[in-house]
């Protein structure tokens, strides 16, 4: 049985070079330019990383091209949903748990809740 490698997705020298140049540019942008954005630095970091993700998916992984691309896209979308549940769910629930259980209330917390009167501390 001969396999038809022609059906596998692939790029060209030009597309690989363009992908490479864009990746390097986005990395250097995140390294040198993004920290200049002040309060928006983190957003710019994330935007640069996501841009790089799409550049590499398109130019290097040839995402969504070639025969059977539909099946690859389906499972990729499923994976994104799973990753969303795992990452967002973990951060959400663990932060809640940290607030509820892992941090013992500070004296300031007790004052503001009225559980400890300030004069008790002075005695």
């Amino acid at each position: 049985m001969r396999t038809k490698n022609e059906e596998l997705p692939h790029g060209t020298n030009a597309s690989y070079t363009l992908g490479f140049v864009l990746s390097i540019a986005l990395t250097l942008f995140a390294f040198w330019v993004a920290p200049l954005f002040g309060a928006f630095t983190y957003s710019v970091f994330i935007a640069a990383a996501l841009a790089q993700l799409f550049v590499q998916l398109f130019f290097f992984l040839h995402f969504g091209r070639g025969a059977d691309a539909g099946k690859n896209i389906t499972i990729a979308v499923f994976t994104v949903v799973i990753i969303g549940i795992v990452v967002i769910g973990t951060i959400w629930i663990m932060n809640n748990l940290a607030h509820l259980h892992m941090m013992p209330p500070t004296t300031t917390d007790l004052y503001t809740n009225g559980q400890v009167a300030p004069q008790n501390e002075l005695k």
Partner: protein, 187 residues
């Protein structure tokens, strides 16, 4: 119509996606635990950003070389495939060497994975990526041996297609480690 190549490609894509879920859980663990330094140094005091930038550029170049190797193999250019693959391997090993030396420095200065939850999650995340790069390097050795002994065959082109998926995927994971662990850790 013979669908062998695309079936295998789909199967390998499923593996890549499941690996994404593995890394997602490690990223989530790191996101939760990176502030739990147990009174030890925070990321900002431990990491050298220009060292990590060099690692990133090496891995990006390695990824590009891997793409060139796959493209040359498709066109049946044996010498070029071999040279590009050897360049990919050397760059991959340089990356791995830098990572191991960074780990060595951290452990030697008393910041090993047993010290705090932050360092445990850091070594688990970055170490798992490093393990993938190591296994990819072994795979490349096999591919190089295959080309040297049997030349460019249909089987080799197919395997190189799967390998390039794997190698580019590791590059994407590293971009997120670079952004989330290092850039956001330092700024």
């Amino acid at each position: 119509m013979n669908r062998d190549a695309t079936k295998g490609y789909y199967g390998f894509w499923v593996y890549i996606m499941s690996d994404c879920v593995l890394f997602a859980s490690l990223f989530a663990t790191y996101a939760v635990l990176h502030t739990e330094t147990f009174n030890g140094p925070a990321p900002a005091q431990l990491f050298d950003l220009s060292f990590v930038l060099t690692e990133t550029l090496i891995l990006l170049t390695s990824s590009f070389m891997c793409g060139i190797a796959y493209l040359s193999a498709r066109e049946g250019k044996k010498q070029l495939t071999l040279y590009a693959l050897i360049a990919t391997l050397i760059l991959g090993l340089s990356f791995l060497g830098m990572e191991v030396s960074e780990f060595g420095k951290l452990v030697a200065s008393g910041h090993g994975w047993t010290v705090s939850a932050f360092l445990s999650s850091y070594f688990a995340l970055v170490g798992t990526h490093g393990l993938h790069v190591f296994l990819g390097s072994l795979w490349m050795l096999v591919l190089i041996g295959h080309i040297a002994l049997r030349g460019i065959t249909d089987t080799l082109v197919r395997r190189l297609a799967y390998f390039s998926l794997f190698w580019h995927f590791l590059d994407i994971i590293w971009i997120f480690i670079f952004t989330i662990v290092y850039l956001m850790g330092i700024y």
